[in-house]
């Protein structure tokens, strides 16, 4: 069997200095705003590191899919959204829960099976949800939440609220049917929904380019549904914020859905202790040099923010996460009776008379 010829066009690579991807123009965040975004990313980075360390010491069971490296996508997008916009995420979703207002303590407590966890220890790492902030869940079946986001956008339109819905998903989701059904329906109904692909180049352990017929797995599919598909440097919080703000405005104005492919890279493996040995060293090195925190630091320096001010933000983030780890460790286990609650809306689990 011969291997199918690869498409000639390579995916856009934002780490390439000659990349045609344009830097945002116009009004970026001011120094204070950018510092706040940096600090949010630093909190996420440290929360993910804590999750990793707690997993290795046996305090987190099951599995984790860490988003270290993806922080700018969540924080940049969130900064461009209204507080009441809807967000749907994947099993790699800690950063989205945090960016939409979940605290490191309630996230880590959830991972550590504590009663104080975000979902009362019934969800775990893959299902972090903060519904009070309209972060409506993290879903562990690839692509399943894209139609849900379409439905939330439909609902917003029916209720006339001018909310939008955002679905964050990985590159792997672009090859599953729900992705295509969702894009088509959103386009046909012209709904206020934004599809944000976090393309980290790997669907689990396999390079996305090896299993996808087009070079840019999300952005190249959007035109087939008549919707804009853009590519952005997913490691540049300013670029993400600008792109999402523009596309969100468009959706809110009734101009329909769009898709944003944010190029990024995960610092850890796919899950748990996957060492990601399948990734070439040169590639890892190139992307680690394009770390979202470093990119933001560079932008802060350009804005004249002293390094010690940024260091202080790092220290605050470290303190918040350290306190969160301690609080989660000290929190109680869930009451076993909770296992039989909240199947139904009445809070119970009764299935028969």
């Amino acid at each position: 069997m011969t291997r199918a010829p690869q498409p000639e066009a390579r995916g856009l690579d934002i780490t390439d200095p000659d990349s045609p991807e344009t830097r945002p123009e116009g009004t970026g965040p001011d120094a204070g705003q950018l510092l706040a975004l940096y600090e949010e990313m630093a909190v996420i980075r440290r929360t993910e590191k804590a999750a990793h360390d707690l997993f290795m010491t046996g305090l987190v069971k099951g599995t984790t899919h860490l988003a270290a490296g993806h922080e700018a996508v969540a924080v940049g997008a969130s900064a461009a959204l209204r507080d009441d916009d809807y967000v749907f995420a994947t099993y790699r979703g800690h950063h989205h829960a945090l960016a939409r207002g979940a605290t490191p303590e309630e996230c880590l407590a959830e991972l550590m099976s504590r009663a104080t966890g975000l979902c009362g220890a019934k969800g775990g790492s893959m299902h972090l949800t903060k519904a009070s902030r309209n972060m409506l869940g993290s879903y562990a079946i690839v692509g399943a939440h894209l139609p849900m986001a379409v439905g939330a956008a439909w609902s917003a339109r029916l209720r006339g609220t001018e909310q939008i819905a955002v679905a964050f998903f990985g590159d792997g989701a672009t090859n599953i049917g729900a992705f295509h059904e969702a894009l088509n329906l959103a386009a046909v109904w012209k709904l206020p929904v934004l599809f944000v692909c976090e393309n980290n180049l790997y669907m689990e352990y396999t390079a996305i380019a090896d299993v996808t017929a087009v070079a840019n797995p999300a952005a190249d599919r959007a035109p087939a549904y008549g919707i804009p598909g853009e590519i952005v440097d997913g490691n540049d919080v300013v670029a993400v914020r600008e792109a999402v703000a523009r596309l969100a405005d468009r959706a809110r104005a009734g101009e329909g859905p769009s898709l944003l492919e944010a190029q990024t890279y995960r610092h850890f493996g796919h899950s748990r202790a996957d060492p990601a040995a399948y990734r070439p060293a040169e590639e890892v090195e190139r992307w680690l040099k394009h770390d979202p925190l470093d990119v933001a630091r560079g932008r802060l320096a350009d804005l004249g923010v002293p390094a010690e001010t940024v260091d202080a933000a790092d220290e605050r983030a470290a303190a918040v996460v350290q306190a969160a780890v301690e609080a989660a460790k000290n929190a109680p286990a869930p009451d076993p009776r909770e296992a039989l609650t909240d199947v139904w809306a009445d809070g119970g689990a009764q299935w028969r008379t």
Partner: protein, 326 residues
Amino acid sequence: MADVITYRQAVAEGIAREMRRDPAVVCLGEDIGAAGGVFKTTAGLHEEFGSGRVWDTPISEQAIVGAAMGAAMTGMRPVAEIMFSDFLACCWDYLANEIPKVRYMTGGQVTVPLVVRTANGGGLGFGAQHSQATENWALTIPGLKIAAPATPADVVGMMAAAIRSDDPVVFFEHKGLLAAKGPPAPPDHVVELGRAAVVREGADITLVALASMVPVALTAAERLAEEGIDAEVIDLRCLVPLDTRTVLGSLAKTSRLVTVEENPYQGGWGGTLVSVVADEGFGLLDAPVRRIAAENVPLPFADALEQEVIPTVDKVVAKVRDLSAY
């Protein structure tokens, strides 16, 4: 008000009543708008409520049910149609993994008040991929309520309960009953989910049936009465909540149980019901339990073959006669 309405008309009537009552109720599905649905079960809705509340979709079962879920989580009460219940398999992720689990796995943070309506069952010669009775599929998943009415009035009353429910409900409309007629539902008719109906009282044996098997069981009971066997017939109406209390109450009187199921014997709902009876009602029984269910084969096309597979009046009469002699 008409003296009788069809089951088909009752579906549209049941939805329309709720749409008039609650502006949060919206419908989506394939061909449900101006076309009125391939079974005409949404006839008149588009005319009355317009395209803002009755939405035609592409052939995209995942998008239909997934969008219904997203809308239900954000303040709407969507009623999604999956044209044939066989096609639930095309969006089974939503019925198995998403809709029934999201409330639980978020620690009760969200609710999913939606209805998935679907045309179920055989008897019309549609072959293996358009004839299945799939109610037992849904029964394997904790977190779904399951309604399967047998009469036009129950269609209206159970539709009201399903749409008003804050829980997800899979609503099986039986294709073989669509043309069946019955008394119309009174105004404001609501049939609480999880309440079986004793549709024929009898002293000798309890027949428990669902949807199109209810008229089969009733006809069998009439024939058995001519032989001096007095059968009680229970229309289960819902699989979740499962009204085991009514069944056990009937067995306290008759001491004999037969289930009449259109779904396959293999994994059919009767297995669950009978296990509850074995656990909690063994002392009530004077005879073995009998399950009459579909054969464990795909549904064949020809009527003569399909009748071999699905329970019929003759099969029920024969089985009940045997059991009565035990």
